[in-house]
Amino acid sequence: MKIIKSLRTAPPTAWFGFVVVTIYLIVAIFAPLIAPYGEREIVGDEYVAWDSQFIFGTDALGRDMFTRLVFGARNTVGIAFVTTVLAFVVGAVFGLLAAVVGGWLDQLLSRTVDVLMAIPSLIFKLLLLTIFGTSVVNMVLIIALIDSTRVYRLARSVAMNIVVMDYIEAARLRGERLPRLIIREILPNAMAPLVAEFGLRFCFVFLAISALSFLGLGIQPPTADWGSMVRENASLISFGDITPLLPAAAIALLTVAVNFIVDWMLHRASGLKD
């Protein structure tokens, strides 16, 4: 009820975001129903121009571009979402724990995070992927681990400002246990910045996956993925064909939409009016 009520007052930008994200979700979930062909199916000649049979033409192997875009939504968005959630669970749990417990645990975690953050993230990811081998599971774990350090920093600093409040002191004196202290007392107050970070982090992860795929270390062919689709079809640009920009546009649109939603949520959570 409350969500519906607050949605009614949401600004048009947030609405735009919701609509776009919903469309992406529907496309991702019902991909096999929407796509006219199979994901890996070769259905025609290479680089067929846009026509009634192939709405966006075909790629270098003669696969339908539109079909691959649809499946790309499932793969790229799905993997990015899983990765971000994982990064958040790990980062937020340890960040809040470090802030509440403090002492040596905080030192241990924070210094470890410092070390991990000291290495440039893309290079670190490439390095780890080379060591552990390129598979989707490895990629998800590696990106999640590296991005969780950023989430940790944020969660810890936000929680640091909350644990000094009198109501946390009151809760401690009441004898509340650690899990409840973190989940019921601190987390609700740390939600706004964390949600905002989630939106941004999702975009970063999403771009990181696309970048890795573009470099050939991410999602492996023949799986459809927007990042690698840009690379595979990049040469078409020189012929004035905008097809390779379609997956790029799909990435950009989702990034913008997610940020609109996050902006609105942040605004609402901070109690700012209009």
């Binding site: 009198d166 109501y167 401690r172 004196l173 009441r174 004898g175 509340e176 007392e185 107050n189 109690g271």
Partner: protein, 544 residues
């Protein structure tokens, strides 16, 4: 433009504030005139529009406010019609503002003197080096310690009272015709307050500056103002010169403001000194890191008694509370509950031991989790300690809400942000009561509240004490509060207990010298009180 004309003339001032999308009146047709060199006091509860009027006198409205009607003439200049740049030229130069919290108003990244010089240099009235020597001169007149070098410190390196004086000196930098003082001493101790008050009064007198003095403390305004205007919800209640106002207030509301200071409850006599005190602090010393803040402190709290712990900030009152609650384990000494030694650290105390001692905090805003509903805020201790669930829990929460005089149906599902300051404090009380404790530690519970609201809280605490036989440890710096509710008084200074005893003994001479200083520093409802006090202190110094 000299002559008979008034310096400031405000007619029919109306200010609207925005709530959501609609505008509502927060100041309703206020008239105010001020001659050169005159000081007018604006008093009222919070929400009365005092500060808003003060700012409007500078032609300024806060974010979310707008001046909707009326005229503001400053020395013949219509501030509402004047251009932004014209107003900017006046502000800081001919009209200055002293905010309530100097600590929050100074930029922590710059030295005091840099901030002092900014105004005069910007307005082109002084060169930098001249402004600096002028600053030192004014610091001297404000009786700041070592005026030659204090300006070269950063705001965090000087005390609150000194900052407030430095701020007043800064307001004087351009020798303005009008200064707006917005509760300049509210955040200060009584003893520091005196220094700031006398410094402000001297300097305003010396330069013949007109001032608007905003406060909720009648006794303070009586010392400062030539005239007093009483405000209530954006409307004027009455205005007259200070002496008449103090002696013969006309309106009921003004009288009620005056009456608050006389609230007192009968003392609860100690049943027998042989009885084991419900809480006793024995030879406790404690420190934060290397800094020792509590030295060998001992006192007892008996059942049904209110022990007021008084002292200036930094005297160790709150530290004592932290030791009792187990937040700060003492280095030496013990805390006993009903004769039994409590583990020094709260983590080692049993649920039952934790339940027996509850806290009520000074700032109800930060003491209630803003994301919890009243139901959970009050219900949680009952659930945790007494194992109440479901219907029984709901019943208990409703019962507690009725006890603190808030309508259960209306309030049970509210968030703290939907409550007023006094209501929040009541919720804090209900939360403490929900645990069914023996001892409640009240840490400055009324100091952030208006006098009328504070009185309500004190009365409530009183009723609850009678009903449940509670013992209170009441930490405060306000001696008026002590006078109205305490049975026993513990006076603390620099981490040591300097005097303890029943209230009546404490308020009758002979006093410990420090108690004497505290007592004499409490402003009285008498316009000549500050003069007499300063005179008598000066005489004493001469004798010494």
């Amino acid at each position: 433009m000299t002559g008979p004309q008034n310096l400031l003339e405000i007619k029919n001032l109306c200010i609207e504030g925005r709530s959501g999308t609609s505008w509502s009146n927060i100041v309703n047709g206020i008239d105010l005139t001020l001659e050169r060199g005159e000081v007018i006091g604006l008093i009222g509860e919070s929400g009365a529009g005092k500060s808003t009027i003060g700012l409007a006198a500078m032609g300024f409205a806060r974010d979310g406010c707008r001046i909707s009607d009326g005229t503001i003439l400053f020395d013949g200049i219509d501030l509402r019609a004047a251009s932004v740049s014209a107003r900017r030229k006046l502000r800081g130069n001919r009209i200055a503002y002293v905010a309530q919290s100097a600590a929050a108003s100074f930029n922590p990244a710059y030295k005091l003197i840099d901030q002092y010089c900014e105004g005069p240099v910007l307005h082109g009235s002084m060169e930098r080096d001249k402004a600096e020597s002028d600053a030192i001169e004014l610091y001297r007149r404000m009786q700041l310690p070592s005026p030659d070098e204090i300006g070269f410190r950063y705001p965090h390196q000087v005390s609150g009272g000194q900052l407030q004086r430095a701020m007043t000196a800064m307001a004087m930098a351009c020798r303005p015709d009008l200064i707006v003082f917005d509760e300049p001493t509210t955040a200060l101790d009584v003893t520091t307050q005196i220094e700031v008050l006398s410094a402000i009064r001297d300097i305003v007198g010396q330069f013949n500056t007109a001032a608007i003095y905003i406060t909720h403390d009648l006794a303070v305004v009586a010392q400062m103002a030539d005239r007093i205007k009483v405000l209530l919800r954006g409307e004027e209640v009455e205005e007259s010169d200070t002496k008449t106002m103090l002696k013969t207030p006309k309106e009921e509301y003004t009288k009620s403001l005056w009456a608050v200071r006389t609230y007192a409850r009968p003392e609860h006599p100690l049943q027998s000194t042989q009885e084991t005190p419900v809480l006793s602090v024995e030879n406790v010393s404690a420190s934060y890191g290397d800094l020792q803040v509590l030295f060998d402190a001992s006192f007892d709290i008996h059942r049904r008694q209110t022990v007021a712990v008084v002292g200036e900030s930094g005297s160790g009152k709150s530290t004592a509370a932290r030791v009792i609650s187990g937040l700060l384990p003492p280095e030496t000494g013990t805390v006993k509950f009903e004769g039994e030694r409590l583990p020094p650290e709260y983590k080692r105390r049993s649920k039952n031991q934790l339940r027996q001692i509850q806290m009520i905090y000074q700032m109800a805003d930060t003491a209630l989790n803003p994301k919890h509903r009243i139901r959970e805020l009050i219900g949680r201790p009952a659930e945790l300690y007494l194992g109440l669930r479901g219907k029984a829990l709901e019943e208990r929460v409703r019962e507690l809400l009725s006890l603190i005089e808030l309508e259960p149906d209306e309030y049970i599902d509210r968030m703290p942000s939907e409550l007023s300051g006094g209501q929040k404090q009541r919720i804090g009380i209900a939360r403490a009561l929900a645990a069914e404790p023996q001892v409640i530690i009240c840490d400055e519970v009324t100091s952030a509240l208006d006098q009328l609201v504070a009185e309500g809280i004190l009365k409530l605490l009183d009723q609850i004490q009678d009903k449940f036989g509670l013992a209170y440890m009441f930490i405060t710096h306000d001696l008026a509060t002590v006078r109205s509710i305490a049975d026993e008084v513990v006076v603390m200074k620099e981490g040591r207990v300097v005097e303890t005893g029943p209230k009546t003994k404490m308020f009758t001479p002979p006093h410990h010298p420090y108690t004497e200083l505290l007592l004499s520093s409490v402003p009285e409802m008498d316009a000549s009180w500050l003069d007499r006090l300063l005179e008598s202190r000066a005489n004493k110094n001469v004798e010494k």
